[in-house]
């Protein structure tokens, strides 16, 4: 078979370039947008995905980690009594005001109190054991390396949180969060920084590790139905992470914005691509008409146009992928939160190919003018 679609695409590449670029850019935008959104919103679940806890216990109805309320400290004993629970750790969340060493004004920060001993659950995947161990020192805090300028501090500097002096003992990576700056401290330090009387001595969450993590769902259900310790709820880590991310995606309106933008990108890409393909069909309409005169069916001619659309999509996506990888690597190097997983990548690829296919279908209309009788004059 003579590869008419491909040969034409290569020979007349200048004619098809706008379509390739349109598909490529549409794909790239969708991909980067998805990576950014995933990156930004998965930071809402950072405390959960970065920790080794299987269960999270918090105030009933808590929609996101950042919206936790104090719970009864005696719950820790209730959890320890359950035979499936291997370890329990309190998590203190303190909304606080930061004054840096350099003059950066006030900053609203989240102080995260964790157990700095080896085997601690909270943020165990984000902070190295050595770094965590430094928090054992009184009034020691760790900040994210991307936040040092904003906070006006470096390692060894002294800052003030809620009027109390703290010392930066190290910088971590991957601690950036939505809505504020994460400052990591030990539980003792965090409790000293607490100014809200209602929270004194009361953890915001309790984290539990199970001896058999696969039982998390059943254990959560079992622990949930005990009302002797005041209001609380138990979630598996994955459920609570999803809950936090969905809260930011949907309840903040950001998700709708993303979908809207994706729609606009799709539309713009489809218009440019279909117009370019249509122009290419129009440019070859006499040749197509001749083939039809010779008996090559319209169905076969449509297939040629669709195949061209497919190649336009494939080449555009290839460019988008290469360019996208470069941009993602650059974003990572600049601590911009970008995350891509396989299902979302495949979805973006599918959307870009759908764009090419729809453009091809639209361009097929141009074949209507390929009437062989019009070649006779």
């Amino acid at each position: 078979m003579v590869a008419l679609a491909r040969k034409t695409l290569i020979f007349e590449w200048r004619r098809f370039l706008p379509a390739v670029v349109a598909v490529g850019f549409a794909g790239l935008l969708q991909l980067l947008q998805a990576a950014l959104v995933l990156g930004i919103f998965s930071s809402a679940g950072l405390y959960i995905t970065g920790s080794d806890a299987d269960l999270w216990v918090g105030f009933p109805g808590t929609q996101s980690v950042s919206l936790g309320r104090p719970i009864d400290p005696d719950l820790e004993m209730r959890l320890r009594m359950d035979p499936a629970v291997a370890a329990v750790e309190p998590f203190d969340w303190v909304d606080a005001d930061w004054r840096g060493a350099r003059d950066t004004g006030g900053q609203s920060v989240y102080v995260i109190g964790l157990d700095p001993r080896p085997g601690g659950l909270l943020l165990s995947r984000v902070l190295s054991p050595a770094l965590r161990a430094r928090l054992a020192e009184p009034d020691a805090v760790i900040v994210d390396r991307a936040d040092t300028d904003k906070l006006g501090v470096g390692v060894g500097d002294v800052a003030v949180i809620n009027g109390q002096r703290v010392r930066v003992v190290g910088v971590g990576h991957g601690l950036r969060a939505l809505g504020g700056v994460n400052i990591v401290a030990s539980l003792d330090t965090a409790r000293r920084l607490e100014t809200d009387p209602a929270s004194f001595g009361r953890p915001t969450f309790l984290l539990a590790a199970l001896s058999d993590p696969s039982q998390a769902g059943q254990v959560a259900t079992r622990l949930r139905n005990d009302h002797a310790f005041g209001p609380y709820d138990v979630w598996t880590a994955s459920a609570f992470s999803r809950r936090s991310i969905m809260y930011w995606m949907l309840d903040t309106g950001a998700g709708a914005g993303v979908v809207f933008l994706a729609g606009i990108v799709f539309l713009a890409g489809a218009v440019i691509t279909s117009q370019t393909l249509m122009a290419a069909v129009a440019g070859s309409v006499r040749e197509y008409a001749t083939l039809n005169a010779l008996g090559v069916g319209m169905r076969n001619l449509r297939r040629v146009v669709l195949e061209q659309a497919f190649w336009v999509g494939a080449v555009g996506l290839l460019g988008a992928t290469l360019f996208g990888l470069l941009l993602l690597a650059f974003a990572r190097s600049q601590d911009v939160p970008v995350v891509l997983n396989l299902p979302v990548t495949l979805l973006c690829v599918a959307v870009a190919m759908a764009l090419a296919a729809i453009s091809g279908l639209a361009a097929m209309r141009g074949l209507r003018r390929a009437d062989p009788a019009s070649l006779l004059r």
Partner: protein, 252 residues
Amino acid sequence: MSAPAPLAAPRGTGPALCAEAISKGFTSGKLRTQVLDGLSLSIDTGELTLISGPSGCGKSTLLAILSGLQPVDSGCVTALGCDLGTLDDQALERFRLLHTGFVFQGFNLFPALDALEQVELPLHYLGLSRRQARERATQSLDEVGMTPRMHLRPGELSGGEKQRVAIARALAKHPDLLFADEPTSALDAANGQVIIDILHRIARGHGTTVLCVSHDPRLVHHADRVLSMEDGRILSDRRPAPPALLSRGATA
């Protein structure tokens, strides 16, 4: 390609094309122009028939109707024993695929394909294997003297060479009917003569019924039969005496 092949009359028996009382008109705005009005015609198998006449006399419309590219308003067209009026679009495409070749005034070659690929392209749709298609295409290009240049694209060929490739493309299908519309009018004298010789040889050598529309007077001496048209009617129908140099071969 799954539609049943329309029946075709065997070569050399009776008329290849037959038109009975065909009429065709076009409406442009409020104006109705009758191009053909009750025209009847029969074209014999294996002959080179030339239709000539002034612009707008209806000769191209007649060609479009006889080749199944346009339907008639009234009347009946039979090609190779098959009533074209009874075929739907797909069956007509299938009929054209199996039985007809076309040569147009514009060469209508794909810029991206070389001469060999131009000729091979329609053959694949006939269901020929890659090897068979290659063989037929090579043979066909050889017949029009284009073998040495079969790997060149249209942009690298002269007008006459492009028309020869277009003829090879039509010829490679081994059509029973070959329709040519002003095949020489875009060419200079020498190239026009080459094309005329090739068309003549196709009718003679392959027994193909060649119907050619042209106002090129050089073609008249090569035609078996010349029909002169004016205002949608056939004014004269004659068989010119064969010229002395009939056997002159095509030169590449």
